[in-house]
């Protein structure tokens, strides 16, 4: 009797143990409270731009879960030291001289690119900066298009960074109303085609008020800007007796395709046009800020994704569109997929995307909660996804600075290197932004530049970059240029 019970107990024990080890073998999911170095390194790789010397020990000491919680609340982290390293930015010239504006734009792009590298290298708010890079690419603007560069500093500072842990709806509105996006995707020119006469009347009335030839100066006058079709870089209006003025679908299309629902999100060409109509009149004021101009707005009824927007509306038509798309289930899914793709795997696990999308819906699009769902998931911690992502040139350069503990006194040479590697910062022309998946970046030519970059840094030949006096043993160039270091 006794022995039978004991045998039964033994069998149960063996079965349980087998089950346990089967589970472990299958998913190899460590305890989220885990303190093993491999897990900590993985988490640091994904939620920062790479561990610095000593970071693993620091996280082990404070516990992985509390470190993650801290990163989810960047406002609780003092970042004064990193902020002090950032060079001051120039302000746009008051002059309307196109050559001077071009020179300013070029310099501004350089300064912002340096700033981005320094922030990514030194900020304590690493997850925030990882997400700023993610969301900038999600809402990409191209600095070389017309006057976009003039709006760029404010774009990242005011439209993107404050909202990466905010509600998606708030991020979306900040973006929709940003001069950089309004300019880049041409919405500032979009007007009700029937509004031509109204606009011509306004223009006649206003002619006396206009200062100079600059479409919008920083002169402080609150005079609504008059959209002109396709301003060129010299700032002169196009020729033709009658100015071509009308609906521009550019923003409407990208809002649905890239920013919210996704290309397979179930919208039609009719929806694109209706969305574009809702945003007519969303433009840029003379002082370079957002302005809604009722005279350009098409106030007739619209139907967007099955929702009726009543006739007679103004700025609220566009805001209603943002409500509709931000709460659309396809948006929850699209954003969840993209975040999981950046943080977990190029082809993220479907079950995780489902849970993150569900969290998006139940939390009202709270991005902190969506990110939390992803980064505390078993899928994120599973050893199978480790080292599965391929570093973009930006991630490679910054992680090189961080892993070596290098001092970057001047980031210009690094900015230059990024250009050569094919990721010039703020200079991605298409609205898709830079991809973060391996297929976009693994190439023979790319590897050659990576090996040369590794050699240059390791031999101390990168201007503005100083390596610490003592480095871990082994060939540094080979380590930085290795296949393993290109992954994270």
């Amino acid at each position: 009797m006794k022995s039978r019970v004991f045998t039964g107990f033994l069998i149960a024990l063996v079965v349980a143990a087998a089950q346990l080890s089967a589970d472990a073998a299958e998913s190899r999911i460590p305890d989220p409270e885990s303190r093993d170095d491999a897990t900590i390194t993985h988490v640091l790789n994904r939620l920062t731009f790479g561990p610095r010397p000593g970071d693993v020990d620091k996280v082990r000491a404070m516990g992985l879960a509390s470190w993650i919680e801290q990163q989810l609340h960047p406002e609780r982290l003092d970042d004064g030291a990193a902020a002090a390293l950032l060079p001051p930015l120039d302000t746009a010239p008051a002059s309307a001289d196109p050559r001077e504006l071009r020179r300013f734009a070029r310099q501004q792009i350089q300064s912002l690119a340096s700033e981005k590298i320094l922030r990514a290298t030194y900020s304590e708010r690493q997850l925030q900066e990882v997400l700023v890079d993610f969301w900038f690419n999600h809402f990409n603007v191209y600095a070389d298009k017309g006057r976009t560069a003039e709006y760029l500093a404010e774009y990242e500072r005011a439209a993107i960074r404050p909202h990466v842990f905010d509600r998606f709806r708030d991020l979306l509105e900040a973006d929709a109303k940003s001069p950089a996006m309004l300019f880049y995707l041409d919405n500032w020119l979009s007007a009700d085609p029937d509004a031509s006469e109204r606009i011509d009347q306004m223009r006649t009335q206003r002619r006396a008020n206009v200062f100079g030839r600059r479409p919008f100066g920083r002169l402080g006058r609150r005079v609504p800007v008059v959209p002109r079709p396709q301003p060129n870089q010299a700032g002169n209006p196009p020729q033709g007796k009658k100015r071509v003025r009308g609906l521009n679908e550019n923003y409407g299309r990208e809002l649905l395709e890239l920013h919210t629902l996704g290309v397979e999100g179930g919208y039609t060409q009719k929806d694109v046009i209706e969305v574009a109509r809702a945003f007519t009149g969303w433009t840029i004021d003379r002082d370079g800020t957002f302005r809604f101009v009722p005279a350009f707005h098409d106030s007739a009824e619209k139907v967007v994704l099955g929702h009726k927007i009543k006739a007679g509306g103004g700025i609220e038509d566009g805001e209603q569109v943002l409500d509709i798309v931000a709460s659309h289930p396809a948006t929850a899914r699209h954003i969840a997929y993209q975040l999981a793709q950046r943080l977990v795997a190029d082809e993220p696990p479907a079950a995780l995307v489902d849970r993150a999308a569900a969290r998006f819906r139940t939390s009202g699009g709270d991005l902190r909660e969506v990110v939390r769902t992803i980064v505390t998931s078993p899928e994120f911690l599973a050893s199978t996804v480790r080292d599965g992502k391929f570093k973009t040139p930006f991630a490679l350069i910054v992680s090189t600075m961080r892993t070596t503990g290098a001092t970057v006194s001047d980031a210009h040479a690094l900015v230059q290197t990024l250009q050569q590697m094919g990721e010039p910062l703020y200079m991605c022309q298409p609205p898709t932004g830079y991809h973060n998946t391996a297929d976009a970046w693994i190439s023979a030519g790319g590897l050659v530049s990576r090996m040369n970059f590794a050699t240059r840094v390791a031999s101390g030949n990168m201007p503005g970059v100083t390596l610490p006096a003592t480095l871990p043993p082994g060939d540094l160039a080979l380590r930085l240029g290795s296949p393993e270091f290109q992954r994270f």
Binding site: K145, Q233, V244, N250, P430
Partner: protein, 404 residues
């Protein structure tokens, strides 16, 4: 979903082809077998096609451009159009190309462009390079899709861009290289230790890319030599040097099928100039470069097509700053031994009623018709292949720039 399929097929292709640089042997075997070569040159910034290929037989051209028109052939002491066929002429800075016209190696397609009406440089360039106007979701470029359908050979030297970053035209899953110059493409110190690392990499994608990189480096070192001198007089500019490098690769027989380079600064909104000035300077560099390339290629020109393109043309009328604003139709040039010389395409005229949106040269030939003819008639891609190079587009007719 598309992305996923794309990624998978890319990885599968790499895996199935293994990682041995076997193309080396094949490239060597191909020497003397005369691969067809396509050289694509992008004039970024929208060249003024009406001052490049001048419709001097068109009275409206002179009415619309009182200060910047190119005078009728033989007209002015300061310079005038070089007559081609009694109606069209070359800008006088393009004199270096006249011999190619005379021996019927230069074809021009005028009033050529995109069905999309965007006047945005970046959208129009994107559409021309993806060759899917109006569709931004296309991930790869038309030249890369050509490489994908024409051969399984894993040789990154089949497609080379002389450019800092991979141009959109050559982006995609077929291996290709973007290099600043042949001599720059190498790892300091030879990189033997790096190569060993990549050979033993557990990651198949990186192992394949590393193998491509070192194999290409070796091929280039052996075939292209180290103290190379161009065989023609190129402009001493980045564009001239890029063209010289293309000829170098073509002559070295490294398996080159598609080459790409670009020349910018055509966006002349202010003081464009006429027979002299900004556009004349740019066209001088452009034409001397192309003429040198044709001369340098020598016998290889028989198997080569050079095609020039620009995202859109410029407005028919000059603006208030003696420049031109963004327009629509433009001119493309096709140069090569197998080319049917002449001015091709239907000329829509510049009368107001015939202009696009009342202001620009209209488009009567879709730029993809020119690409299609080159890819099919010159590069020999089948009808089935064409549908993959130009998805959801079938040229209804081709301009006739390639000799049948």
């Amino acid at each position: 979903m598309n992305r996923r399929v794309f990624l998978k097929s890319g990885a599968m292709a790499m895996l199935s082809l293994g990682f041995a640089p076997s193309f080396l042997g094949r490239a060597a075997a191909a020497i003397g077998s005369h691969r067809k070569l396509l050289i694509a040159i992008f004039q970024r910034g929208a060249v003024d096609g009406l001052n490049m290929i001048v419709p001097h037989g068109e009275a409206d051209y002179y009415r619309l451009r009182p200060t910047i028109a190119i005078p009728r052939p033989g007209g002015e002491r300061m310079g005038s159009a070089i007559d081609l066929d009694g109606f069209f002429g070359l800008h006088p800075s393009m004199a270096p190309l006249k011999p190619l016209w005379d021996n019927h190696s230069l074809a021009i397609v005028h009033a050529c462009g995109s069905p999309d009406n965007t006047r945005s440089h970046f959208d129009a360039q994107d559409y021309m390079e993806s060759a899917t106007p109006g569709l931004k979701a296309t991930r790869d470029g038309w030249l890369n899709r050509y490489l994908q359908v024409s051969s399984e050979e894993r040789n990154p030297l089949r497609g080379v861009a002389l450019a800092r970053t991979m141009p959109r035209s050559l982006e995609g899953r077929a291996p290709a290289l973007a290099i600043g110059s042949v001599d720059e493409f190498g790892v300091r110190g030879g990189g033997a230790a790096f190569e060993a690392q990549y050979e033993s990499a557990t990651d198949p994608l990186l192992r394949a890319a590393g193998s491509d990189a070192f194999a290409a480096m070796r091929t280039l070192r052996q075939a292209a030599g180290t103290s190379y001198r161009p065989g023609a007089d190129y402009p001493q500019t980045p564009f001239g040097k890029a063209l010289a490098e293309i000829a170098r690769l073509a002559k070295a027989d490294v398996g080159l099928e598609v080459a790409f380079t670009e020349l910018g600064n055509w966006d002349h909104h202010v003081n464009e100039g006429s027979v002299t000035g900004q556009i004349a300077t740019r066209l001088d560099e452009f034409s001397r470069g192309l003429a040198a390339l044709a001369a340098d290629l020598g016998d290889r020109l028989a198997d080569t097509v050079i095609v020039t393109m620009s995202e859109f043309g410029r407005a028919a009328a000059e603006n208030g700053n003696r420049g031109t604003d963004h327009g629509h139709g433009n001119a493309m040039m096709v140069i090569g031994g197998n080319v049917r010389g002449g001015v091709h395409g239907k000329w829509p005229g510049l009368a107001e009623g015939h202009r696009f949106e009342g202001r620009d040269l209209a488009v009567t030939t879709d730029f993809r018709d020119v690409f299609t003819e080159i890819v099919a008639g010159h590069m020999g891609v089948s009808r089935d292949g064409l549908s993959r190079v130009f998805p959801s587009y079938v040229a209804s007719s081709t301009p006739g720039v390639i000799r049948a």
